[in-house]
């Protein structure tokens, strides 16, 4: 089985300071990578570099295409969730999920089902009125809209209660079984099965 993403000796330097240095890993279908580091260690920068938002100073990022060839540009769509989660305060919980590209063609019932799955029942509440933990649950519901080959999630376990943590672990396991991979970051190892990369 070929890795969907190969990262080799990746380094990023800003203002003569190495944000991260010589990072290497492969993302195989259905397997996870957990990037562990303290605050300010460059975890978010690494995720953004992998996705092409920031240019690396050294190293290679290559993506597998459907024909089994590797390219130095992204060949498939991924899901990225940073700290901000991409949630609009002036939209309701339902609208935040429904008015997205990946929800196209889905019925209201499908959206409600996904929201229910992540434990959200206040679907008509404006996102500005809900807690950080509930916002994270909307973000989790977005994972269910479409199956992506790789999900890049920045600190998925922060600001969550035990129930939500268990739910994330369950969702990741389910998506792994379908061949989806997760590249996540965190301050310490989480409960999910993953290859740990320390930066």
């Amino acid at each position: 089985m070929l890795p969907n993403l190969k990262v080799e000796n990746l380094s990023c330097v800003r203002s003569d300071k190495a944000i991260f240095d010589e990072v290497s890993f492969d993302v195989l279908p259905g397997q996870n990578i957990e990037i562990i580091g303290s605050n300010g260690s460059g975890k978010t920068t690494l995720l953004r570099t992998l996705l092409g938002l920031i240019t690396q100073d050294k190293g290679e990022i290559v993506w597998l295409d459907d024909a089994g060839k590797y390219h130095n540009y992204r060949t498939f769509e991924c899901l990225y969730q940073g700290h901000q989660l991409g949630i609009k305060n002036l939209l309701t919980v339902f609208e935040n999920l429904n008015i997205t590209k990946h929800a196209k063609g889905m019925s209201q019932e499908d959206i409600y089902k996904h929201l229910e799955r992540v434990g959200l029942s206040n679907v008509n509440e404006f996102a500005s009125n809900i807690s950080v933990g509930q916002r994270k649950r909307i973000a989790m519901a977005k994972w269910l809209l479409k199956e992506f080959k790789i999900y890049f999630i920045d600190e998925p376990f922060s600001a969550l209660d035990d129930t939500a943590t268990l739910l994330i672990e369950k969702l990741i396991k389910e998506l792994n079984a379908k061949g989806c991979s997760f590249v996540i970051t965190g301050h310490r190892p989480s409960g999910i099965e993953a290859t740990r990369v320390e930066i």
Binding site: Y80, E95, K104
Partner: protein
């Protein structure tokens, strides 16, 4: 691919218009600002028809220009803060579409209300009825170009002071101001104004690809 691009464009338009209508200050503030500025002139100069009518092209255009810059800062700032901007750059579709959609939304919530209010402004300033159509045409082209310029200014000033984007944009808006006022002045003097409109049309035609692409690059600088 084409339907996917159209889907992305329609989703951004639907979502942002919904948000703009829920935050009414977004479209009401430029409109009120425009009308207040225009109303100040008859109050300050007195109701002399010939004076107000000769000043009308400049007054309408300066008020329109400043009003359209009021909401410039908001074009990308919210998307940048809440992480939506990341989604656009990570999707495999051209980021040009995002910028174009944001420009269209800015025009719909600032340019279009100004266009409608300009008829009231024209009545207040005793602009002859014959000059209404040239005025509307010049504002249609000019405010659209201002939205494109505004997007570039907003991208360059992202995360910085709100007034900075307006300061970046103002010097570049001089050609639009000159052409726009020339259209109305020419029509007031019964001269041919089509040349000025053509130049404004050409600026817009070049601005759509050129300024949108520059805006994409300016936005990406914020990630480095």
């Amino acid at each position: 691919m084409h339907s996917s691009l159209f889907d992305s464009l329609s989703i951004i338009l639907k979502r942002d218009l919904m948000i703009a209508f829920r935050r009414s200050s977004t479209y009401i503030t430029p409109l009120i600002f425009f009308l207040i500025v225009v109303t100040f002139f008859p109050l300050a100069l007195g109701p002399q028809e010939s004076l107000l009518s000769s000043l009308a092209p400049g007054v309408i255009w300066i008020a329109a220009l400043l009003a359209s810059l009021l909401a410039v800062e908001t074009i990308f700032s919210e998307d940048f803060r809440d992480g939506t901007l990341d989604d656009f750059f990570i999707s495999l579709e051209p980021s040009f579409i995002l910028v174009f959609a944001k420009v269209m939304i800015h025009w719909l919530i600032t340019g279009l209300p100004i266009l409608v209010a300009s008829s009231i402004a024209a009545i207040i300033l005793y602009l002859p009825l014959d000059s209404f159509i040239p005025m509307l045409l010049s504002l249609l082209l000019g405010t659209s170009f201002m939205s494109l310029l505004g997007a570039l200014g907003a991208a360059l000033a992202l995360g910085k002071s709100a007034i900075l984007s307006a300061i970046i944009v103002l010097p570049f808006s001089v050609p639009t101001l000159l052409m726009g006022t020339s259209v109305i002045t020419s029509s007031l003097n019964n001269q041919d104004f089509s040349g000025f409109l053509m130049i404004m049309g050409a600026m817009l035609a070049l601005g759509i690809p050129g300024l949108c692409l520059l805006t994409v690059e300016a936005l990406l600088l914020n990630y480095e």
